[in-house]
Amino acid sequence: MKKIDKERLLLGIAAPVLAIVVAFLVTALVLAATGKEPFSAFGIMFDYGMKSDSQVYILNKATTYYLAGLAVAVGFRMNLFNIGVDGQYRLAAFFAAAVGGALTLPGALQIPLIILTAVIVGAMWAGIAGVLKVTRGVSEVVSTIMLNAIATAIIGYLLQQGRLGHLDEAGTKISTNPIPESSHFFEFPTTPSPVWGFIVIAVVAGVAYWFTLSRTRFGFDLRTVGQSGSAAEASGVDVKKMVVTSMLISGAVAGLVGMPTLLNDSYEYSGDFPVGIGFTGIAIALLGRNHPVGIALGALLWGFLERGTGKLEFEGYDKEIVGVIQGVIVLCVVIAYEVVRRYGLKRQQSKVGAELAAQAAARNNDQQEVSA
């Protein structure tokens, strides 16, 4: 059976590679159709993406995206569509920034406190959707979309002068009080710019995700629910509790999404804190097939694309092409995965059938020889 496993691995890799190739072809077509030379564009992106400062940029971007992908993947693994990672991380980052800006404890105390605030706020916000689902039967897809909008309103209300916001000198930017220097997260002193220390937390989260899902009872239960809710229930998993729990976990991880930016970059939550990363997370989880390593590759790819297309603009292309590339990749990837999944299953079934038939034939032969 080792052989089948190797094949599955191969098929698993084939899918995204195929999708990315197709995506680049489609993009090339779009570029060519709009009168731009496609291949030098890819050349520029690639060259630029390989530069050391680009690598730093990509790693830093990927840190955030990775966490977003993980948050979404936790839900996906049990067939929950947490579309609300977006609202969860924003609300979490906002409250974490407010706490961080209000206190001046030693960093060793305050940093964990900030992160904890974020994790708890994210979990609570996602938990609402979980509770509504199990007690009131509200689809999490709809409720998390609503909660995203409500989170925006809450932040909008609190991020005002006189509440938790403070206005800058020019009177144009409103933000929470900046987090004191002592509570900035450490950085790796790479040149020309540093790699954010939060990447360590992201790696730890990825390992924890992998270990929990594949090596613990809890993870097994979670995956069971994802594969078949009815079988899980019959096997003794409390599915309702599991839904709430995994929503809480998903939200908790979502709480981390804003932390690299907050603790390594902006040190405050202002009106222009990045939005929409929750949706990027969905794309990345799909791309990485909910696998911790796959998600990492997806996050890096996304970072690379954004870095590379930033350079494209410098060279006279429209960097909006990145949206086209990303969209096509996601669509191709989901289709490719499905095709490969089905192909693999069918292949395995016929292999099993063939092997069994061979066994049976061998047995018959033996018997005949014996009786002869």
């Binding site: 779009v30 709009t34 569509f81 579309i83 509504l132 009131r136 039967g137 509200v138 689809s139 897809v141 709809v142 409720s143 979309i145 609503m146 909660l147 909008a149 409500i150 925006t152 309103a153 809450i154 909008g156 209300y157 949706f279 969905i282 794309a283 799909l286 429209d318 909006e320 092409i321 990145v322 949206g323 086209v324 590339i325 990303q326 969209g327 096509v328 996601v330 669509l331 989901v334 289709i335 499905e338 095709v339 089905r342």
Partner: protein, 429 residues
């Protein structure tokens, strides 16, 4: 069959069938009664609080304009889901609708724009159908992918097509198209003015009724009328024709449909493409009627809201219309200096919650009853202690209302039985 000489009466009666086919289906008079009840409540609120805008013609007219795109997106969702395909890609299809609508609209005439918007949405629908029906991709995943793709695509081409040459000269920009011409609006002459004069008296109920009707007959875009016709047509086609029966059967039990010679793939394709077309029309409505230009981010999540409205409406056109109306109403309220109006409606919420609490307590659901009562009291305190609602909360009103309504009613909803499930030809046993 035979052998029915039973000696014991059946201990547990089987489920009684709810009359003619439907259980949650409301008859026409009941719907009218509900509408009258809501109007009565609104006029009471208006009379008590003096928030005149709650039932004014302007408010209703704005609500209608806000409701149409949501309703069309929801109608798109309805078509797809009745055929068993969940369509969360409505948002993306709507974006395509706004984009192509404006693109063709400014160059030719708005009706061609509408057509282009519909076609744009249909292309999105086609993609969704290919992914979900032919390749069997999970519906939600495919929908999300389409939303990402549509956004990327339109952003790129908007910059390319609207920010150069003639388009730029006519006011296009990287994020915005040049304006298209108007689509004609109609007003029923005489009636509108008469209703308006009644409305101005602020008579209890009568003026409110005049306001509501006035809002519905004044300055109505032809495309709004098209949308309304589409609602009726959808009901007729899906529930009164054999085509509709086949389509719905694909959402209820595709294997059974297949066994009777229905080509399930074809119907699913048709449904999802129509679904995209409806969403595209909703988009075109945004970029050609409520404004005359395409703007990046113009849909503002209305595709998702349409989906919510459809669920709210229990997968039926009538219910969906109510859901879309509610959203439109809340949205319009909010934009028309909603602080005061929403504040007034808090009073209504108190009454609703109090009644609910009483009902739950009567039915011995103590926890729910007490929770409702506590919330009612809290809202009442809020109402009495303030005289307006902060803008931020007003803007969240539609979302909070949806959550509230869904939490109260989700368990009574019934979606098509095979909705969202993968279906393969020949999977039946």
């Amino acid at each position: 069959m035979s052998a029915t000489a039973t000696s014991t009466p059946p201990p547990a009666a089987p489920k009684v069938s709810g009359g003619k086919g439907g259980r949650t289906r409301l008859s026409f008079p009941v719907v009218l009664l509900i509408i009258a009840g809501v109007l009565l409540a609104l006029s009471a609120v208006r009379a008590i609080t003096g928030a005149e805008d709650v039932t004014s013609a302007g408010q209703i007219s704005a609500a209608l304009a806000m409701a149409v795109p949501i309703g069309l997106a929801g109608l798109g969702g309805l078509w797809a889901e009745r055929a068993g395909v969940v369509n969360i890609g409505l948002e993306g299809m709507m974006i395509l609708g706004t984009f192509f609508g404006a693109w063709a609209g400014w160059q030719t005439n708005p009706w061609l724009g509408v057509l282009a918007g519909v076609v744009g949405g249909m292309l999105g629908g086609l993609l969704h159908a290919i992914a979900t029906v032919t390749f069997g991709v999970d519906h939600i995943i495919s929908g999300i992918a389409i939303n990402i793709l549509a956004l990327g695509f339109t952003t790129y081409f908007a910059k390319l097509w609207f920010n150069s040459g003639e388009a730029a000269a006519k006011g296009g920009s990287p994020k915005q198209s040049p304006p298209a011409d108007d689509i004609t609006s109609v007003t029923i002459p005489g009636l509108s003015d008469w209703l308006h004069s009644i409305e101005k008296h602020h008579w209890f109920f009568v003026s409110d009724l005049a306001g509501v009707i006035g809002g519905l007959v004044t300055n109505v875009s032809l495309l709004t009328i098209v949308a309304i016709v589409l609602f009726v047509l959808t009901f007729f086609v899906l529930w009164k024709t054999s085509f509709g029966l086949r389509l719905r059967s694909c959402g209820e039990n595709p294997v059974a449909a297949e066994s009777l010679g229905v080509n399930v793939y074809t119907y699913k394709y048709i449904a999802v493409i129509v679904s995209g077309g409806m969403a595209g029309l909703g988009g075109a409505f945004l970029s050609l009627v409520t404004s005359h230009i395409y703007n990046e981010g113009q849909t503002g999540g209305r595709g998702y809201i349409g989906l919510a409205a459809m669920i709210f409406g229990n997968w039926r056109p009538g219910g969906l219309a109510m859901g879309a109306g509610l959203f439109g109403f809340a949205d319009a309220l909010q934009l028309r200096n909603g602080g005061e109006s929403v504040h007034a409606l808090l009073l209504l919420l108190v009454v609703v919650l109090a009644v609910l609490a009483a009902w739950k307590l009567y039915r011995k659901s103590f926890v729910q009853g007490v929770v409702s009562a506590v919330i009612a009291a809290a809202v009442l305190v809020w109402y009495l202690g303030t005289d307006t609602v902060p803008t931020e909360f007003v803007s969240a009103t539609p979302y909070i209302v949806t959550l509230l309504v869904l939490s109260l009613s989700a368990q009574r909803l019934r979606m098509p039985k095979a909705d969202g499930m993968r279906y393969r030809k020949g999977q039946g046993k």
